[in-house]
Structure formats: C-alpha cells, structure tokens
Amino acid sequence: MSGAARGVTDDAIEDPVLAATGVQRRYPLSRGWSWGRRDVVAALRGVDLQVAAGERVGLVGTSGSGKSTLLRCLLGLERPDRGTVSLAGRTVQPGSTASLRWYRRLVQYVPQDPAGSLDPRSTVRELVTVPLRHLHVPGDHAAAVTTALTRVGLDPELTDRRPGELSGGQAQRVALARALAPGPVLLLADEPVSGLDLPVRDQVVQVLADLSAREGLGLLLVSHDLAVVARLCDRTVVLADGLVVEEGPTTDLLTRPAHPRTRDLLAAVPTLPA
C-alpha cells in the first residue's frame, strides 16, 4: 500500500477497517419553535457497514435512502445519534481539526461535482497542497503534488493553472489528486461521476479503477448509478429508508437481487454493460 507508506508513518495502522456500527441519525423537520412534538425524519435507522483494506464497496440507494447522511457520519462531519464510526477500532466523531487529522490522512473524500469543489481563485499547486499543509503531512510537499498529479494521469505542467483554465476531465482529476495527496488508504467518493458527460465520466472511472487495481487503494463508492458500481466495486451494499436491506458480491447482487428495493433499482437501469 504505497499510500499508507507515504503519509502515515507516525500512526501506521495494521488493519485499517472502516466500520459503522448501528449508526442512527435523525433530523428535525421544521425550523424554529413549534408547540408540542417536533417532527423528525429518521435518515439512518441503525446501519452496519464495513470496508476492509483495499476493498472496493459500492453503496447504492435511491434519493432519500440515507446515503449522503451515512457518508457525512463516516467522514466525521456529523455525529450519529446512536452507534459509532471507527477506523481500525479507533472512534471517529466530529471534533477539533487536530483530533481528526490522523483520520483524514488515512481516509479521504471525493465530493460530488469534484470540479465544483475546487476554489476558483487557487492554482492547481495550491489546491493539491491544501490537505498536505493542513493535515501536517511530513515531507516535500512540492514533490508530493507532482506525484499526486502523475498518479491521476495529469501533466505536472498544469500546476500553475486555475480551475477555470482546465477542461472538465482535468478538473475532475485535480480533485482526485487532491484527495490522494495526503496518501489515504481509503477513498470515500460521493457520486463522483454523476452529472458528467460520458467521455469525462469514463476517464474518471478509469482513473479510479487503475488506482485501486494498481495501488490497492480502498474505495467506498456512493452512487445511484449501478453501471459505475458494477464496473468499480467488488461488493455492493443497498441502502433503503435508512437501513441496509441487502449486501453481497456485486455480480451476484446485480444478477440475482433478493430484496424488492434492489430489484427496483435494477429495473430503473435500461441496460447494463456486458
């Protein structure tokens, strides 16, 4: 695992398993004061999920199934009402910036619309340096920027450009390089290719596939697009109404879905790639 070797020498972890155990999360529905009970919506109703080192897991579900909330809990951005999130047994929960540095070096995030997640005023070098500097990653940051750009197949000559001067595909790769820079062992990706046109989408999927195959990078891919999940993930977890309703090897799940909600998801896909 080249990533772990580069970034986390000080707190190396033997068997990094990201685990959510019995995670529950509710949101109040209305804002302001109302008499009597406040309406709540249960986004997560006790979710168990594990991602082992180097594993590629797809998390699928319709809108409103709780995918994004689970991801926010897994990222330590939101505290579960019940249950825990942990990495290799160490609890992960919202707290000070310093208290989560170890975790953010090991687990990074590729947001939805990665290009939109790039500060338009910064250069590519500045963008990729942000996690290196703020996560206190030791070593030569300039070299780490070059390495990260090379890993996603970008020309290091681009370092002085700003997001506005990049093509769609290049911007997506910069966002990916930024997530890879601190040397994570696991990437959490939230619909990383939704809303992209097909050529760009294929490029990004290809980069993700190469990284996990070549470097053993773990991946939790949140998506409602089963075609992307089928191409990237070994195992798939189906979330519906805040609960895991089915999980298993991706090929089994896509060919012999057991749960009605999984069948609904499959029915919504006109054709699957061979």
Partner: protein, 596 residues
C-alpha cells in the same frame, strides 16, 4: 435548531437591555458636568460656588455611580415615573406624553403620505406585469427626488409651500393645515423608497415561472396582480419596517424645521439644554414607537406568509437584472456636477467675511454670499471636501466593523437589528448628550448605525460562500474553521462588501449633514453643508440663494446616493455572491446536507 434559536434570542435580548441601560446611565456617561448649566438655567443670580454645585450634584443623584443611577431610573420607570426635569424641577412625564400625541398624529399623517406615494410609484409596474408585459425597475429619476432626506425636504417644502406660495402655516401646530407640509416632508422619502422597492420587487417577481403558468391558465390581470403583490410584499416587510422606524428620526428633523411641539423637538431641546431626564424619557418613548413599528412589520410578514414562514419553504426571489447603461447616467451626472462645484470653489476662501452681507449671486460670487458676507461657492466646495472626508473615514470604520460583526451571523442579530432600526438622528442626539456636539461626535453617531447594513450583507454573503462546494469540502481536507473564515470566506466577501460600503458614502455624507443641520454635528464657522442650510434658513425670504446653494448641493448628493444604492442592488456578475438589499436579515445558515 434550538441552540441557534437561543443564540439569536439572547443576542436580541442583550442588545435591547443594553440600549435601555445606556439611556439609563446617560447622566453618568455625559462627560460634561451638567450642574453648572443647570444652575445657570434655574437662576441667573446664584453664585456658582463649589457648595452650590455640590448641592445640585447631590440633588440629581450624580454621585451614585452608573449602577445607582440606573437602579434609581429603572425603579422610577417601573412605578410609572419618567423622571424629574433638571431645568424646571417638575415631572417630565405629562409634557412628553402631550408631545407624544402630537408626534403620533404627525407620524400617522406621514404614514398615509408614504403609502399613497408608494402606491403611485408601484402602480405602473404592477399594471404592466399583471398584463404579461415585462416590468421595468422603478423610475430612478422620479424616485430619487422622493428620496431626499427629511430635513432637506422639510426646508424645501417650507420655502415653497409656506414662504413663496403662502398656502400653509410655516410654523407651529395650530390646526389641520399645520400637518400638511410636515407630513409630506416625513412621508415622501419613505414612500419613495417603499415604492421603488416594491416596483423593483414586482418586476423581478414578474419574471418567475409561475406567472407565465397563471397567464396560460387564464388568470385575470386582477387575480395575477393580487398574487404578484402577495408574493412580493413579504420579502420587503423588513425594509418597510425600517422606513417606518425611520419616521421617528424624521420626526426630530421635521418637527425642528416646522417648530412643531412634538416628541422629536422635545428630545432635541432636552439634549441642547442638557435636561437629561427629559432626554432619557423622550428617547425611551421614541424607541417604544420604533419597537411597535418593528413588531407590526413582523406580524404583517407572519400573516402574509402563514405556514410557509415556519417551514422555511419561501422561495428565494430571482436575482435582479444586471444594470443598464442608463442607470449609471444619473449617478455619473450628479458626481460630475459635484466635482465641477468643488473644483470651482476650492481655491476660494470659505471663512473670510469679504463680501456684502447676503450679496446676490453675480459673476464674481456665483452662489452669492451668506449672512456674514462669506462666499457661498467657497463654503459649499470646502464643505463637500470636509463632509466627504469625514464620510470616507466613517465608511472605512463601518467596513471593518461590518465585516467583523457580519462573520458572526447569529450572535450579531440583535445589534444589527437595533443599529439598522436606529435613525442616525436619534443616535446623534444620544452621542451629543454624552460627548457634546462636534463633527467627530456626528461621525461617531453615523458610524454607530452605518455598520449594520454592511454586517447584514456580509452575514448573508458569507453564509452563501460557506454553502459553496469548494468551501464545504474544506473540513475534510483538514482546514479548520478559522482558516476557512480567513482564507476562503473573507477574501471572497470583502470586495463586494467594500463596494457596498463605498456606494454608501453619499448617504453617509447626507446623514452627517442632517446632524449638522440640527446642531448635533459640526459647529460654526465650519462650512459643513447641513450647517450652511441651517444658517441660511432665517434669511430664506430676503436671500433665497443662502438656502439654495446648500440645498442644490444636498439634492445632488441625494440623487447620487439613491442612484448608487440602486446600482449596489444589481450585481454585475450573476455568478458572484448574492447582493442582498441593505437591511434584510441574513438567510439562515445551511441545513444539514440533504438526506440521501
């Protein structure tokens, strides 16, 4: 969320209590020892011996310290005792209640004028939009004239309606005819502003998709018009409330010009005479009226919106159209005119009494001379430099304070609301009572209220920046809250906030002039515009040019202020942070990310 609700509520409560406490300790705050002036006011013969002064101090309870004073004042208020005048020795309550009646009558009449003006201004766009045509934003030129500051409009109306035409009473409070001019002076500016806002709002609303849907469905112009108003007005209630609250400030200026025995004039008189108990009680009554107006506006908003307010499902109005070249013609022309006057007069001496008293305009004296034989062109030009200089300083202070406070959107709710609602004139009276009258005091008074719109803007714009994807991702990259604020939010918000602050410069200059006019700012012989106007007023019949020179300059500045404020509401780049009309409350911060 309950915790956020508590911060906001606590912020409001602390601010209101703070203001009341500030008024309560005014006698202690007032650095100038009042006992000597009180002694002089009570009796001309009595010697100002240390014993006599000490006796007065003891009698007024000035040695009790701030907490003692506050306790005494509050306990009196709770018993219904508004205090005892330092000058007359009698209770201040009855006189002030009588003045309150006069002021409320005047404000009611002004409100009618304001609503009538607003209705006239927004009828054309409503008519157009309800018939499916594209609306146009409010006629800038017409609206600019109705948006003159009250003290200036009052002077102009007095000049035209009472002195030249002789139709109305120039002074006093004798009957229905005394109400007309003051009500016009107070109501027109506010009505002009409301009308302009509603007209602009209707035009924007007219571009929303539901309007086309209704038209296709066969809604009549009447139905559509009602729906358009219902959709547009709730967003403007905050603004309308500010205009209503502004009537209390207008009352001070207008009552002073027309010598009306109302609350505003009583407060101003009490500040001049250093009758602090009368000032305290008057202030409390004025603030009470403000709070009443604010509450009424909130109630109206709740009634108009109903359940939509609580569920947070009110749609956000579309962004306004980018400014057209025509919109820049007016401010450009006004600015050029001011520059020409300043360039012509700056080389002349504003203080030397080198000319005949009240000399008429001539080639040598283009604006004529004032009552002391001073060159009015020189005085107007130097006044512009002095006023603009002070205003620029105030702008800088308000920008710094506004940005810092705006970054704490929830905790700053109370101070922002109070500062937004407090008319500069009222704050000017308080500052003058505490620190004496000076240009610096006037600048302080204006700065005390002028930061609030900037803070409201920064709060709204930074909430918007914090919701952008490139900022929401930062915590995952290890960027802490302080770094997010200083490296990402502030640099993004600052340029627009600075532009917003600079565009307010003419408005701030006018506020300074208003304080100068009322004797709360610059002191003679400074060539300050408001002071020039006040000095010329007694000679308005014999030498109208003594009033026309400063009036012309102030009108030009008003046109500049109003047309610039129109520009500030139309962002040039649609991609930038949303420009929020000054004074609107910040939208509430982002909800937790949407579920699933």
């Amino acid at each position: 969320m309950p915790r956020r609700g508590w911060v906001t509520a606590a912020s409001r409560a602390v601010t209101v209590l703070g203001v009341v406490a500030l008024i309560g300790v005014l006698p202690w705050l007032s650095g100038r020892s009042p006992e000597l002036s009180i002694l002089r006011a009570r009796s001309a013969e009595q010697e100002a011996t240390p014993e006599a002064l000490a006796a007065i101090r003891a009698e007024l309870g000035l040695d009790a310290g701030p907490l003692g004073l506050l306790g005494h004042w509050v306990s009196g208020l709770l018993r219904g005792d508004l205090g005892t005048s330092w000058i007359s020795g009698g209770p201040v309550g009855p006189g002030l209640v009588e003045a309150l009646g006069v002021s409320v009558t005047l404000m009611g009449a002004a409100l009618l004028v304001a609503l009538g003006t607003a209705a006239l201004l927004c009828w054309p766009p409503l008519h157009r939009v309800a018939r499916g045509q594209r609306g146009r934003t409010g006629g800038a030129a017409g609206a600019a004239l109705t948006a003159l500051p009250e003290f200036l409009l009052a002077s102009v109306l007095l000049l035209v309606g009472a002195v030249w035409l002789g139709w109305f009473e120039p002074y006093g409070w004798t009957g229905p005819s005394s109400v007309v001019l003051p009500a016009l002076a107070m109501g027109l500016p506010g009505g002009g502003l409301i009308g302009r806002l509603v007209a602009d709002g209707l035009t924007v609303t007219g571009t929303e998709r539901w309007v086309a849907t209704w038209q296709v469905a066969g809604a009549s112009p009447g139905q559509l018009g009602r729906a358009l108003l219902r959709r547009t007005l709730p967003a403007l209630t905050t603004q309308v409330a500010l205009v209503l609250v502004g009537l209390t400030g207008g009352a001070v200026a207008v009552e002073q010009v027309f010598a009306i025995p109302g609350l505003g004039r009583a407060v101003l008189g009490a500040a001049e005479a250093q009758d602090l108990p009368a000032l305290q009680a008057g202030m409390l009554l004025l603030l009470g009226i403000s709070a009443l107006f604010g509450g009424l506006a909130a109630l109206t908003r709740a009634l108009l919106l109903g359940r939509a307010l609580r569920s947070g499902s009110v749609p956000v109005p579309a962004r306004t159209s980018p400014s057209r070249r025509r919109d820049r013609l007016l401010p450009g022309g006004a600015a050029a005119l001011l520059v020409v006057v300043v360039a012509a007069g700056l080389g002349r001496d504003p203080l030397a009494s080198a000319h005949p008293r009240l000399a008429a305009p001539s080639a040598a004296l283009p604006f004529g001379a004032d009552a002391s034989g001073r060159d009015l062109l020189a005085r107007v030009a130097h006044g512009a430099v002095q006023t603009v200089g002070t205003a620029a300083l105030v702008v800088l202070v308000t920008l710094v304070v506004g940005v810092l406070v705006g970054l704490l959107p929830r905790a700053s709710v109370g101070p922002v609301e109070v500062a937004n609602a407090a008319p500069p004139v009222i704050v000017g009276v308080l500052v003058a009572a505490a620190l004496g009258t000076s240009q610096a005091g006037a600048a302080l008074a204006v700065a005390l209220v002028a930061w609030a719109p900037i803070a409201a803007y920064v709060a709204a714009a930074s909430a918007e920046v914090r919701r952008q994807r490139h900022v929401t991702v930062l915590p995952v990259l290890g960027v802490g809250p302080a770094a997010v604020t200083w490296r990402y939010v502030v640099p993004t918000v600052l340029p627009a906030a600075a532009r917003n602050a600079v565009l307010r410069l003419p408005g701030i200059a006018l506020a300074l002039a208003a304080l100068g006019f009322l004797g709360l700012g610059a002191t003679p012989p400074a060539p300050e515009w408001g002071l020039l106007l006040a000095e010329g007023m007694p000679y308005v019949e014999r030498a109208p040019w003594a009033v026309l020179a400063p009036t012309g300059a102030l009108v030009t500045a008003s046109v500049l202020a109003v047309s610039l404020s129109g520009l500030s509401r139309r962002p040039r780049r649609p991609a930038g942070p949303v420009a929020v009309p000054p004074g609107t409350t910040a939208p509430s911060p982002a909800q937790p990310a949407a579920v699933g």
